[in-house]
């Protein structure tokens, strides 16, 4: 198993505390009525808007299919495109670093920051740097990282964890945000204005004032990227607030930490994703700001640019023939917003920076299924398929969920840290496996099946409403199927398939 540190923001050091399994974490969340209200309001708002934004584009299905093919092709030739990215970025004046895991990426970034002599950095919202726990790693080196996205700021000030890919503070309502700003801003810099109310416009203004001094003096910026174009070496960051532009333009040094799956082969490929990403994520025709840069430009923007290419479980995911499609993900979060499980359980229950349906297939692949949380995530779904419907790169999330459930229950081969490993079946699935073995035997022995069915029908008035013993957990959330008075096959024979039904 990988011992890679996959740190989570605002948590104790790795190993100090394991995340509870999804059912345990969700158990508390579904009883939190404020959280349920906040999530319901936010996800329903964005659902309707997204549907409208997508309906505006008559060729959505074709764009989605093209996006899927571009990503699949890139993954198929990822070695070639990685080398091409390295060449293009280097030729444009950037420096490329390779990080096999989180610890290595954090080490590279910390050393780069220290080499500038600076002790603080401004950050653009980035899933990759959250995934590797960069802020905590920098803090351990005496470097303070300021999150500048509004929702990330709310999370950072509230000593909280992100609960949504696009809107990490989605679990907070306006009143809670105002309270956090009032009590916490002064410890980080400019305090919240006197008499701050909970109107979103005033809260945004408070964030503007608080962060402006940090932007104007920042010497080092840290970002991720939504896309890296292999043929040109161009990086793309889509955002809304302008904090991204501030971090990408004003500092002297820019460090971008990017997962190796973010590559697209050609400049032209952006025409697909710049249409599908904004409509899928914020439900806009286009997000307010998109920045594109290629290496460094004399006199405009940072004079030093570093690109850190991050693996951290991605190549392990790539090795799985069914699961590799998860690497197509462009982090739009549409699947979270439509998911009935996410809406009720909230993002924290997923125990990862990647919550929701995509998190349920990404986390157990990036981190492996060794922990309680990662082994339970493939079950955090009703398999309703709404996530697949809205996915702009057509990731068949239910298919991968079922595949991962099989791996958890049955064990089998997987790739961890670049090496093939054989996983043992997880504990707690013994009854399930026994039931499946029994079913396999019964279905291949028709006589025994028929006898068993007749026996079940004749004894049906004595059947309990819940299963005893180890089956109790299964039947706690489900009704046992009612057994008919007569097995279907007996009825078919007696009535000749219903033709003699009147008799």
């Amino acid at each position: 198993m990988s011992t890679t540190y996959l740190g989570m923001p605002a948590l104790p050091a790795p190993g100090d505390r394991a995340f509870p399994s999804f059912p345990q974490a969700a158990h508390a969340a579904v009883r939190d009525t404020t959280l349920r209200g906040n999530l319901r309001h936010a996800t329903h708002t964005i659902r309707a808007k997204r549907a409208k934004a997508v309906a505006e584009v008559s060729d959505w299905a074709q764009l989605r299919e093209a996006g899927r093919r571009i990503k699949d092709h890139t993954l198929r030739h990822l070695d070639r495109y990685l080398v091409q990215v390295e060449e293009a970025v280097t030729a444009a004046g950037g420096t490329v670093h390779w990080a096999a895991n989180a610890a290595e990426a954090n080490r590279i970034v910390a050393d780069l920051v220290k080499a500038t002599g600076e002790r603080e950095v401004v950050k653009v919202k980035s899933m990759a740097t959250q995934e590797i726990g960069l802020n905590e790693a920098l803090q351990a080196e005496g470097i303070r990282a300021y999150e500048t996205d509004l929702a990330e700021l709310i999370v950072q000030l509230g000593k909280d964890r992100p609960s949504h890919i696009l809107v990490p503070a989605i679990h907070r309502n306006r009143g809670e945000i105002r309270d956090i700003f009032r009590s916490e801003m002064s410890a980080w810099g400019r305090p919240a204005p006197e008499g701050l109310t909970d109107t979103p416009a005033e809260l945004a203004e408070a964030a503007r004032l608080h962060l402006r001094e940090k932007f104007l003096r920042a010497k080092v910026g840290i970002s991720g990227a939504n896309f890296v174009v292999a043929e040109t070496g161009t990086l793309v960051v889509v955002e809304s607030e302008g904090n991204g532009r501030m971090c990408l333009t004003l500092p002297e040094t820019l460090i971008s930490v990017v997962g190796i799956e973010k590559i697209v082969p050609t400049w032209r490929d952006l025409e697909v994703f710049l249409q599908t990403l904004p409509r899928s994520s914020t439900a806009e025709r286009m997000n307010p700001y998109t920045s594109m840069w290629t290496g460094t430009t004399d006199g405009d923007g940072p004079s030093t640019f570093h690109l850190v290419l991050l693996d951290n479980g991605r190549t392990d995911t790539l090795a799985d023939q069914v699961g590799r499609q998860a690497l197509r993900c462009i982090r739009c979060s549409a699947c979270l917003n439509v998911c009935p499980v996410y809406e009720r359980a909230g993002g924290h229950a997923y125990g990862s920076v990647y919550p929701g349906p995509i998190g349920a297939i990404l986390s157990p692949q990036l981190r492996g299924t060794a922990t309680d949380i990662d082994a339970s995530l493939p079950y955090a779904s009703s398999l309703c398929g709404a996530c697949y419907e809205v996915c702009p790169v057509a990731i068949d999330i239910p298919e991968v969920l079922v595949h991962l459930r099989e791996r958890v229950a049955e064990g089998g081969t997987a790739t961890r840290g670049g090496n093939k490993v054989v996983l043992r079946p997880a504990k707690g699935h013994a009854a399930e496996r026994a039931a499946m073995r029994a079913a396999r035997w019964a279905f291949t022995h028709p006589g025994a099946l028929a006898a068993g069915q007749r026996l079940a029908s004749r004894t049906r008035r004595f059947h309990p409403r819940a299963l005893p013993g180890p089956g109790r957990a299964w039947s706690a959330g489900r009704d046992l199927p009612a057994v008919p008075a007569e097995p279907f096959r007996d009825w078919w024979q007696r009535t000749r398939g219903g033709k003699d039904e009147a008799k």
């Binding site: 764009l63 932007f215 400049w267 025709r285």
Partner: protein
């Protein structure tokens, strides 16, 4: 072994199951999607651009080339700006009617972000504008200047020449742009959806974006 070699090796081993495929990229990814959505004439495209800009809270003005200096003068005066940033290659005629009391600030390499923060407005051209999405794109050409001059001042006036700089769609815009230039795509003023997924305009970027659609000729 370096991490570079380690990662590339892992990628190659991970793909060992995939049969070799040397289909050229152009054939590997068919592109049956549309180059643009709908057929519009020049006026229709400009109207759509104006409508979509306004939908995301940009303030849209329309003018002919002759009326441009007067309109810009009016917008700066109305805003009450005391100073305006001027990119090096901005057509001097555009500011010809602007009150000389409004200080012209040059886009200089040595000016600090703090100094730029004290400038009230900025006037620029653009590289291209996209009607379907209500987007203007800046590419750092001399009439647009360094990226930071359109970022720090709170008021941005952007002139789009119609029809020369207007395209219908995202694919058409990408065709016109040069990837090696630093590019900023702007669709309305700075905004956020981070509080309860409600859109609020005005965070870190310019909170007021005024777009002037300047039509060629005198009428």
């Amino acid at each position: 072994m370096s991490s570079r070699e380690r990662i590339l090796g892992r990628v190659r081993r991970a793909l060992a199951d995939v049969p070799p495929d040397d289909t050229p990229y152009e054939e590997a990814v068919p592109r049956p999607y549309l180059r643009r959505h709908g057929d519009r004439d020049v006026a229709g495209t400009a109207d759509l651009l104006a409508a979509n800009l306004a939908d995301y809270r940009a303030v849209v003005h329309r003018s002919d080339t002759a009326g441009l200096p007067g309109l810009i003068a009016h917008l700066l005066a109305q805003r009450g700006s005391a100073s305006v940033l001027v990119p090096p290659g901005l057509d001097p005629a555009w500011l010809a009617d602007t009150d000389t009391d409004i200080t012209r600030v040059a886009d200089r390499a040595e000016s600090t972000p703090g100094e730029l923060d004290r400038v009230d407005s900025v006037v620029t051209g653009c590289a291209v504008a996209i009607a379907e999405t209500g987007t203007i794109v800046l590419d750092g050409s001399p009439d647009q200047g360094r990226r930071r001059i359109t970022l720090i001042p709170d008021h941005h006036i952007c002139v789009v020449r119609v029809p020369g700089q207007v395209v219908s769609s995202v694919p058409e815009a990408l065709e016109r742009l040069t990837p090696s230039r630093p590019l900023t795509w702007i669709s309305g003023p700075s905004a956020t959806s981070d509080i309860e997924l409600d859109r609020v305009e005005g965070v870190h970027g310019p909170r007021t974006l005024e777009v002037v659609l300047a039509e060629d000729g005198d009428g």
